[in-house]
Amino acid sequence: MNGVSLSWRELTDDIVHRYRLTSICRGDGEPEYLFLWRAQNRRLPVWVENQLLILPWHGFCRLEDLEAGHWSHRCPVRVEIPATLGQDKGVWYPIREGINGVLIHRKVFMLTQVSTHYYKIMTRNPRMPMFANGDL
């Protein structure tokens, strides 16, 4: 997973100014905000206690490891990463309801799971994000 994009509809002006976000347009589409792994200032939008924040993106957390308790000592908190689009190995695709993640000391880790057949063929990635509603 290389990043997500969030529609301008999902962000308030306050957040855009506070985090100095810059929008882009894809074709004649609406403005959107990119949050990419390769960005210098690597970060992700995340809902924390009913508040949308933009926090540092520190990496990925395998769902299997989380469920096995390997992350318990870090006291991870489950959070939702809102996303309109996702990007993996150059393929942009729509996301219905966001991605699950964990928050550790105000740092975000995206939850991943084994890819479905479709996702694996589409992106050639054996791992895919854990989508909030279960699938693409």
């Binding site: 609406e30 057949h117 479709y118 063929i121």
Partner: protein, 406 residues
């Protein structure tokens, strides 16, 4: 029913993408590609993606190089059917005769349009186009003429989001349209026409009718009449009975694994039985065809003792054929086809047949209807858990019933 004076053809512009944009407005204005069920190839694209150079059938890995900003969506025939049927229902409010030609194309009697919209025919087409956009959310193109063939040419040439009344100087309209664009003229027919100096639709119209008939049979002759403004193809409001019903397609990753292929034979047979049940027909002949690496390779048929749609007989016949199928190369596509169809109420039973116990088939049908398709399925399909795990595989375009063509 009298042939209407004016026939309209309505064609949705990049239908799958437009349907996706109805439920996801962030895709508007963005290059969008719809991927096949495997996620490997683009099966439909927006005008923006087409302009970038992505073609239907382009593998995803080439598409992202050609159009890196494109957004790639998984196909969803359940949703496309919802939008398609909304369009059909809307057309039925403005026309007494509507033909459900395909998921994104419909013909209808346009004689009432002026009275309904209180405008000229040209303005009424535009009003209808806007009504579809407002009420359903998809852009459509509309052609109106005295025949179906001319109406379809009208909508084809008006795209995108255009309207054309094919009522003026036919020569001016037809001389720029290649004859190969005509619905019903395939590559081989087009080649024959070109060899005889018939390149454009106007050349076709100018040719001798009997010459066209000799060249392209009565189907070509019908096109000749239609292009000359004489309607010979009526608006068909209900689909004529099938001569054969097929289920199948790609087997995903190509394979020589007989267990997996047997799983697909049974899966396709169960889908076929669903279709036979829907159409209330029985079959007396089962055909299995296999393609190796995309090339048609092997095809065999087996007759059934009597017309039936019972799981035991249909699946038994398909599995029998599969057992005898050679696998010299990886299988890419498979079809199970039911032929010699007859209506269930008119079946001539064999004197020697014993009464069939179809209670299990009925229970399975009820459970699947109530809980969801394939909730109960043959154990032979357990090797295909990856296929069944993806709910998009539950429904295909051939499961949308009532259309005149695929």
């Amino acid at each position: 029913m009298n042939q209407p004076n004016y026939v309209a053809h309505i064609d949705s512009d990049c239908f799958y993408v437009s349907a996706e944009r109805v439920r996801n407005p962030t895709l508007r204005g963005v290059p969008v590609g719809v991927l096949g069920n495997q996620g490997a190839c683009v099966i439909a694209k927006s005008y923006e993606m087409k302009a970038a150079g992505v073609k239907t059938g382009t593998p995803i890995w080439d598409a992202i190089k050609i159009c890196p900003d494109g957004v790639y969506v998984k196909r969803d025939f359940h949703w496309y059917e919802v939008i398609s049927r909304k369009l059909l229902a809307l057309l039925k409010t403005v026309s007494p005769l509507v033909e459900y030609y395909s998921i994104d194309e419909m013909f209808f009697d346009a004689d009432q349009l002026c009275a309904i919209f209180g405008k000229t025919l040209e303005k009424s087409m535009e009003a209808l186009q806007q009504k579809v956009k407002d009420e359903i959310g998809i852009p459509v193109s509309i052609g109106i003429a005295h025949t179906k063939t001319l109406a379809k040419l009208g909508s084809d040439t008006a795209k995108p989001f255009g309207c054309k009344l094919m009522d003026g100087d036919r020569r001016a309209i037809l001389r720029d349209i290649p004859a190969g664009e005509l619905c019903g003229v395939g590559r081989r027919s087009e080649k024959k026409l070109i060899e005889n100096g018939i390149v454009t639709c106007w050349d076709f119209v100018q040719a001798d009718r009997l010459f066209i008939r000799n060249l392209l049979t009565i189907k070509g002759e019908a096109l000749w009449y239609e292009l000359n403004g004489e309607a010979v193809q009526p608006i068909v409001t209900s689909r004529p009975p099938h001569k054969a019903i097929a289920r199948g397609g790609s087997v995903g990753r190509q394979t020589t694994d007989r267990d997996r292929l047997n799983g697909f034979v049974v899966r396709n047979s169960e889908r076929l039985i669903d279709a036979l049940d829907y159409h209330q027909v029985h079959s007396r002949l089962i055909v299995l065809s296999l393609e190796y690496n995309g090339e048609i390779g092997w095809c065999r048929r087996v007759s059934l003792a009597e017309p039936t749609a019972a799981f035991k007989e249909i699946v038994g016949a398909s599995k029998f054929l599969m057992r005898h199928a050679p696998i010299p190369a990886r299988v890419s596509h498979m079809h199970v086809i039911a032929e010699k169809l007859s209506y269930r109420k008119t079946v001539q039973r064999s004197l020697f047949s014993s009464p069939k116990d179809e209670r299990l088939d009925k229970i399975k049908w009820y459970v699947n209807r109530k809980i969801g398709r394939f909730s109960v399925r043959s154990g032979d399909t357990l090797v295909l858990d990856d296929v069944y795990a993806d709910e998009a595989n539950e429904y295909d375009i051939c499961d949308i019933y009532g259309k005149m063509c695929f």
